[in-house]
């Protein structure tokens, strides 16, 4: 419990910065909604004729009315993904690698606890922080979208579905970050690996977007696990990808325990 609280405290400030960025993004994006709504008809006409690939690259789904507030909001999904993959993977790397980075391993790991207990506390703290970030996204989105919503049907439900999908991806990247933290000798190397995965999977997403018949590669890039529009309007959350994400995250976390357990902690 003490390690858990310590980790929460240590990462709280950075969570605030990330949250502020998120709220700013949603706020700024929605502020522009009214302006967009006016020119919207013409934009719709154009977008609806563009190839799905190009639209997907921009985070827009084909055949949707962009002047509708919900569809407009769904474009943010990609931005959320980018922010959250960075946040959760870096958080994962940090909680594991910080003891050696800051040379506090000689403090924490000579305490009468198993290493696995320390890891458990750290993982739980990281999951808590990730959920908190997700809640910030959900609550701020729901609140900011509301005044723009003149359709009469609440968007809170669809937004909740969307942020639930985000949470799945967050946990996945958190798991990867943790694994890299335990795998690499230094925190710099670990965050380098995490960066490579984020950029690599993002580029892969772009490639698959561009070329529709590469869909079968979707499993390789979490950026394509969920389609915002389908999630929001059809409540269609792809269960296989949820399972895949959870299994990957679970495996990565198991790997974290295993690797950290047999690791020499250098001072």
């Amino acid at each position: 419990m003490n390690i858990y609280l310590r980790e929460i405290k240590a990462n709280f400030k950075s969570l605030l910065v990330w949250s502020a960025t998120m709220v700013f993004l949603v706020l700024a994006g929605m502020m522009k909604y009214s302006a967009f709504q006016k020119t919207g008809e013409a934009v719709n006409a154009m977008f609806n004729q563009m190839p799905a690939g190009i639209l997907a690259v921009m985070g827009i789904s084909a055949d949707q009315d962009l002047t509708s507030v919900g569809v407009f909001y769904s474009i943010f999904f990609l931005y959320f993904l980018l922010l959250m993959t960075v946040h959760s993977s870096m958080l994962g790397v940090t909680v594991i690698a910080k003891e050696e980075r800051d040379k506090t391993a000689d403090f924490l790991l000579v305490k009468p606890i198993r290493r696995s207990c320390a890891i458990t506390a750290k993982i739980l703290a990281a999951i808590t922080l990730v959920i908190a970030y997700n809640l910030v996204t959900f609550i701020s989105s729901a609140m900011i979208v509301k005044p723009f919503n003149d359709t009469g049907t609440s968007l809170t439900g669809p937004i909740f579905y969307l942020t639930s999908c985000l949470l799945v991806i967050q946990i996945l990247f958190l798991g990867l970050g943790l694994l890299f933290g335990a795998l690499a000798r230094t925190s710099e190397k670990a965050s380098g690996m995490a960066t490579a995965v984020i950029l690599g999977t993002f580029i892969l997403k772009i490639l698959i977007d561009l070329k529709a018949d590469l869909d079968y590669l979707d499993f390789l890039t979490p950026f394509r696990y969920f389609k915002a529009i389908d999630v929001m309007y059809k409540q269609e959350i792809s269960i296989p990808y949820v399972i895949l994400s959870v299994v990957l995250a679970g495996t990565a976390m198991a790997g974290t325990y295993w690797l950290y357990q047999k690791r020499d902690l250098h001072s």
């Binding site: 522009k32 967009f36 563009m50 922010l83 960075v86 790397v93 380098g192 561009l210």
Partner: protein
Amino acid sequence: MMLLFEFRKSFRSWLNFTIGLLLTFTIFASFFDFFREDAALMDQLLQNFPEEFRAAFGFANVNLSEVEGYLSFIISYIVLVGAVYGMKLGVGLLSAEPREKTSDFLLSKPVRRWEIVAAKLEIALILLVAQALALFTLGLAEIKIIIKQPIDVGIFALLVFAMLLVQLFFLGIGSVVAAAASKIKSIMPVALGIVFFFFIIELVNESLHLKELTYLTPFAYFKGSSILTLRHYEWPLLAIDLTIFVVATGLSFWIYQRKDFHAV
């Protein structure tokens, strides 16, 4: 000596990122053939829209089924990877001493502080220019081998060096952040966070077409579509980019000079 030392320290990650860039470029280049059919169709569609409209969305004069058009489109992702490296350099170099607990070592040497900053920025510039040159030459070779079509070398150079210009922006911002912070424990979280923030602004700018945002994010300064149309950079945006770089590096000199270096 300082130069050589900093160079050796930074070389490994330079190599990693340069390989990463080339890999990204190679993958995109080998996608060209696949992409062409789709693109040709889209080009036809786009012709149905008024000129201004296409210009607004960055597709004026852009023929995606041609090499230049395709490259002008994918370059933004190359620039993203490059920008992460530029930011990493900026944040990493000036924050290295407090992080690695070597402040007392370096700052007790008979060198002026500005010389330290200058040496580090010089290395950063060398690495970035070398990276752009590597991407330019090897990229040209790849186009020749993979795409097998003639390409306007001038346009390609403008596209590749757009990456360098964006990197300079982030190098400047990163240096200020590093100089101002008393200690940055990890580089990548800071670097990635800031770069992605600017990239998202550009995505908002692109999908929602909000012209005001153009000035806020370097990713909007050197758009492939406008390079293709104008055959040069947009001078005001180039000026903004370079001004930010110069002001930011100037600021980092100023801050570094006045900074307290605390004991470990």
